[in-house]
């Protein structure tokens, strides 16, 4: 089983549209895992049924039992996150500020504070319209994606892919360069980097590739909106040549991307010229992975 992870340091490069296109091309032979939990948009194109709903717990948050509390204020004293304000004369935890370090709970003289795991969102195992399944999550407000959540999404995807004998797992990876993207990359057979020839596109590509390199995973690159700036496009191509990254495709600037999305379709179901480019790159990915 091959695990293909699609990432892009910067947002708005078309990563999710391209990933969803691969999902359509891979059909029933492939399982989808959406690890871009902060902006999980893939469901808009793949029509999951939100079945298999499961609560997801991560991180901890302190809670003060007001019955036991003697209002000594020691907890607020040790808290470095200003998370224990006095509300209506009582020491109270502000869950949005609490980092869950557990220091307050440890030093409370009357053990009035418990640190408990918090429900941060929901995890779904859905059937999608391409005849396969997708693992995806929805986070509550102020809750952060984590290595744990990404690992859970990927683990569930892997177990299901094994059970249903799929050949591929397709992962829509997390943004940024922190723990979630590390967890997205971990275990991958091939990484697809989606970028665009803009100053920020180039900048973020180089930053996120540092991580990919650390993991020694083979990578390919898709340059979206490739024709909006020839100079930056060359810059990207020089970079990927130097790093032995496979150039998978150069996709011209095309508003059909958005038009397709507006109709709830992927680009390969909408525009025959773009379809050819994306089919070609998918074939390359399958060979390299």
């Amino acid at each position: 089983m091959k695990e293909i992870v699609v990432i892009s340091g910067k947002g708005g490069t078309g990563k999710t549209s391209i990933t969803a296109s691969f999902a359509v091309l891979g059909g029933a032979n492939l399982l989808v895992a959406d690890c871009d939990v902060d902006a999980a948009d893939m469901h808009l194109l793949l029509e999951p049924d939100f079945a298999g709903d499961e609560d997801f717990y991560s991180g901890e948050v302190a809670e003060i039992d007001q019955e036991t509390c003697i209002q000594c204020g020691k907890c607020a004293e040790v808290c470095r996150f200003d998370a224990i304000p006095v509300v209506d004369g009582k020491y109270t935890v502000d869950p949005l500020s609490c980092e869950g370090c557990g220091y307050c709970a440890r030093i409370c003289p009357v053990k009035a504070i418990t640190n408990s795991v918090q429900r941060v969102g929901n995890l779904y195992t859905s059937s999608i319209r391409t005849g396969t399944k997708m693992i995806h999550a929805k986070l509550g407000i102020g809750n952060e994606n984590s290595g744990k959540l990404v690992a859970k999404v990927k683990n569930d995807a892997k177990a299901l892919a094994e059970k249903e004998q799929k050949n591929y797992i397709l992962v829509d990876g997390s943004p940024g360069v922190g723990c979630p993207v590390v967890s997205s990359l971990s275990g991958a057979t091939f990484v697809v980097l989606v970028t665009e020839p803009t100053v920020s596109g180039v900048h973020d590509l180089i930053r996120v590739y540092e991580l990919v390199k650390k993991f020694k995973i083979n990578a390919g690159c898709i340059i979206n909106k490739a024709d909006i700036n020839p100079e930056r496009n060359r810059e990207i191509k020089d970079f990927i040549r130097k790093e032995s990254i496979t150039l998978l495709a150069e996709i011209p600037y095309n508003e059909n991307f958005t038009k397709a999305m507006t109709m709830g379709k992927t680009i390969v179901e909408f525009d025959s010229i773009l379809k050819k480019i994306i089919v070609d790159s998918w074939e390359k990915i399958k060979q390299k992975a």
């Binding site: 984590s146 744990k148 723990c179 971990s186 275990g187 057979t189 993991f215 020694k216």
Partner: protein
């Protein structure tokens, strides 16, 4: 020589776990005594962050010479492993434990 594999199970035929920090099991093989040990690391699932260092710490207890894994380890785990003084071999993510061992012996992993 004592070798640790990151694995998805506890048998020679179990597939390797390509991940280091969040590996499901360690499969530990002592070439001299031919003894096999395994360690169930699945509780790591509950760690939101810092799986790498935590797993490294456990690994250190086995006093192995070589670690064979898939992609990893990331920066933090690498720092611990360096401290432990274990040699890290990657690129065995697609294999079974047995295949990984054979590939290592044949010198096709590095």
């Amino acid at each position: 020589m004592k070798i640790i594999f990151t694995a998805k199970g506890t048998e020679w035929d179990s597939p390797m776990d390509p991940r280091f920090g969040r590996t499901e099991y360690f499969f530990i093989y002592d070439e001299d005594s031919k003894k096999i040990e395994t360690y169930d690391n699945r509780a790591i699932e509950n760690e939101a962050h810092g799986a790498g260092p935590k797993t490294s710490q456990k690994l250190a207890e086995y006093g192995a010479d070589i670690l064979i894994t898939g992609n990893g380890p990331g920066g933090n785990a690498a720092a611990v492993l360096q401290q432990v003084g274990i040699k890290v071999i990657t690129g065995a993510g697609d294999m079974t434990v047995k295949e990984a061992y054979e590939a290592f012996k044949n010198g096709t992993l590095s």
